[in-house]
């Protein structure tokens, strides 16, 4: 019975390492997918690059070999046929060469400087790179080179023709090689992208496959957190997996331990309930018999009997309160929504709590208000407030029923019932603590004959919270000396829409169900604290199984 321990609330915040790239966070699955995709991209880029290089080299080698062979043959032909360096003869000679490249000649005969002859002036010697020309003509060495022009890549080669002052050049366009390489490059880029996408999909799929057990465990954990304590992961499905089997076994073991623990707590509350009530029944009945025959007792015995009766009442109340609050702790509570005619109910509670008449004032228009709430719990809250006023002041001075619109503090309209007294009031600093268990407030120092133990207000808070409401204490509405204890409940309309046979819905509903009704629009939205509502399975097992043993 720890005072403020949160119950049944799954911790949502984890301190997990963060993986993020420029603000984008990746999950485990995203990271696996990304890694596989990057590996795929790298491999396909390397492969494509290699393929492209090899293909280009092969194509060029072939062309260079062809050119070398043709140059050798053509230069031999020229050497055999040339008679003089007359440009027109040279021109004729070039024209007679077999088809292939575009030939041209440089002649140094006649000392008038170099004479050039070409078949096609666009590819003549002048159009060739100077390095190539100087290497062939000045150094008299065969040379070959590739060079780019606006039209495309050209391959050119030149040789000095032995025993002459002639130098033979030939140019061959590599436009087709260019096209082939370009096409190949486009295809390889496409293939690289495709391979990356495939790798990504593979990574996505395989990671899903690999992470499926983790997902299962996650779902199971969530289900446990939601209260399905009989959730287990099928161990046999993972028994063969050395990596997962221990995880699954430990998970199942953990949930079993948790379930046992919660069952034990619930059973304990129930056992305590039974064990304490039995002797209390005997004590109450026996004291009643003594009281019936009080006149026959000696005077000292009568005094003892009176003390016994008073403390018996206190003890019985304490046991009732403890059991009630332990049921909240064990999660064995159940909300019974009822259509409650509010003002007459408040008046009845006031009449039951006090012999003195206490005025009940309702805002105009609320006289016939019917709200859906747990009547028993509402009566307990009011009884506790009135009891409190009786203990710490001279009883309540007035009870007020008010409604508050949707715009006031929350999304839903609420109804408030306030119990005011003219006692010492509750200082600001005490106002939150006064609803803690066993807190008597400052006035509690002196125990009157009838002072409670301070569970009443704590219980009132629990009863209110279970119904989606709250309790607090504030100054009297007229600012006078005294305290004003307020219970606020969501104003839930009676369920006229529902197809019940009973005038009210007797089936107990959980706060979750009440909330879902609110969500579907059957009821105005109410704020529910789910923490107090237990998994239903436990409650039922608890009641059906342990109560009757």
């Amino acid at each position: 019975m720890s005072a403020d321990a949160p119950r049944n609330q799954p911790e949502r915040e984890h301190a997990a390492p963060r993986y993020e790239i420029e603000g984008i966070r990746f999950g485990l699955r995203g990271r696996i997918t990304l890694a596989v995709a990057l590996v795929g991209l790298f491999l396909s880029v390397v492969l494509s690059f290699t393929t492209l290089t090899v293909a280009q080299d092969t194509l060029l080698d072939k062309r260079e070999e062809g050119l070398t062979a043709r140059i050798a043959a053509n230069s031999a032909t020229i050497r055999g046929n040339v008679t003089n360096a007359d440009p027109s003869e040279l021109q004729t000679l070039l024209s007679s060469l077999p088809d292939g490249g575009i030939p041209s000649l440089v002649s140094l005969d006649g000392g008038r400087g170099p004479v050039t002859v070409s078949v096609d002036a666009r590819y003549g010697v002048e159009s060739l790179p100077p390095e190539l020309r100087s290497k062939v003509v000045e150094d008299r060495e065969p040379a070959m080179m590739r060079f780019a022009t606006d039209a495309g890549t050209l391959l050119a080669a030149g040789v000095p023709i032995p025993d002459t002052e002639l130098f033979y050049f030939e140019v061959t366009p590599l436009y087709d090689v260019d096209t082939a390489i370009r096409t190949l490059r486009v295809m390889l880029i496409g293939a690289t992208l495709a391979a990356t996408v495939v790798a990504m999909m593979l990574g996505f799929w395989s990671s899903r496959y690999a992470l499926r057990p983790l997902k299962r465990i996650g779902e199971a954990a969530e289900s446990v957190a939601m209260g399905q304590l009989d959730t287990r992961i099928d161990y046999d499905a993972y028994a063969a997996d050395v990596d997962l089997a221990p995880l699954v076994a430990n998970f199942n073991g953990m949930v079993s331990a948790l379930q046992d623990r919660i069952d034990r707590d619930a059973r304990f509350a129930s056992d305590v309930s039974h064990e304490l009530r039995s002797p209390l029944t005997t004590l109450n009945a026996s004291i009643e018999v003594l009281a019936n025959n009080r006149d026959e007792l000696p005077e000292r015995a009568q005094q003892a009997l009176d003390l016994l009766r008073l403390d018996m009442r206190r003890f019985t109340q304490l046991v009732e309160d403890l059991l009630e609050i332990s049921r909240f702790d064990a999660g064995a509570v159940r909300l019974e929504l009822d259509d409650v005619h509010l003002v007459p109910t408040v008046e009845a509670a006031v009449r039951a709590a006090s012999d003195e008449p206490i005025p009940v004032e309702a805002e105009p228009g609320l006289e016939h208000l019917v709200v859906a709430c747990d009547k028993r719990r509402l009566m307990r809250i009011l009884a506790n407030f009135l009891d409190n006023a009786r203990k710490y002041a001279d009883g309540a001075t007035g009870v007020y029923v008010e409604s508050h619109g949707a715009d006031d503090i929350g999304p839903a309209p609420t109804v408030r019932i306030a119990v005011e007294d003219n006692g010492p009031g509750v200082p600001e600093s005490e106002r939150a603590r006064i609803f803690d268990r066993f807190n008597r407030g400052d006035q509690g120092g002196s125990r009157g004959t009838d002072a409670g133990v301070g569970l009443g207000l704590a219980l009132a808070a629990e009863h209110a919270r279970l119904q989606g409401g709250r309790v607090w204490v504030e100054d009297r509405h007229d600012g006078g000396q005294g305290a004003r204890f307020v219970i606020e409940l969501p104003m839930i309309a009676p369920h006229e829409e529902r197809d019940d046979e009973e005038p009210t819905d007797l089936a107990s509903i959980t706060p979750e169900e009440a909330e879902s009704l609110a969500l579907t629009g059957e009821l105005p939205a109410i704020r529910m604290d789910q923490r107090t509502e237990p998994p239903r399975t436990i409650t039922e097992r608890h009641e059906a199984g342990t109560e009757r043993t």
Partner: protein
Amino acid sequence: MGDNGAVGTRILYVEDDERIRGSVKLALEDEGWVVDEAGTGEEAILSFDRTPADVVLIDIMLPGIDGFEVCRSIRRTSDVPIIMVTARADTHDVVAGLEAGADDYMTNPLQPKELSARIRALLRRVRPGTTANPRLRFGELEVVPQEGVVTRDGEEVHLTKTEFRLLVELASHPGKVFSREDLLEKVWGHGVFGDGRLVDVHIRRLRTKVEPDPAHPRHVVTVRGLGYKLQP
């Protein structure tokens, strides 16, 4: 202490805990009742067969035959008022006990004074002059309050005392809507803390006996959000 009409009224008290049984018996005897004790369900059934009591008080948690079974067993042969004792008010035990035929329930620790008041309420007879007419007709249904007889199509319908008083209460003002609080006070003598489930379970049982089609009641009808009424 015999000033409350209890003199000679026999209560069969079924409780397995000897000390509880002893003390409650003493307290009830102080109130003027005659108390027969039974420690087990079997004993209770035998005792009731031998000497039928005027009221039966059953603790639900019994070794062997449990309180529900005792309740059902007695109900098969008798319309005696039955009060059951449960550990808590907010369990299914309450509805289960009422379904088994109990008229009312109380929780431990029992308060003998309140218990006596409940017993007196259950033993109350239909007050003379509750209704103007000695015979009330509602279609095929006829109620004779003073004789405790209800007939449907001329055939007598067997009701328990509580069911009968509930029907007569509703019949006293045909068409008037009775809230559950009204009925709890008038039929069971409960205060503001009464449990509406008592009314609902009894209404349900009453319907199975007097309505031709209990799922679509024609006489004992629900007025949503308000209560119940009897319509002619």
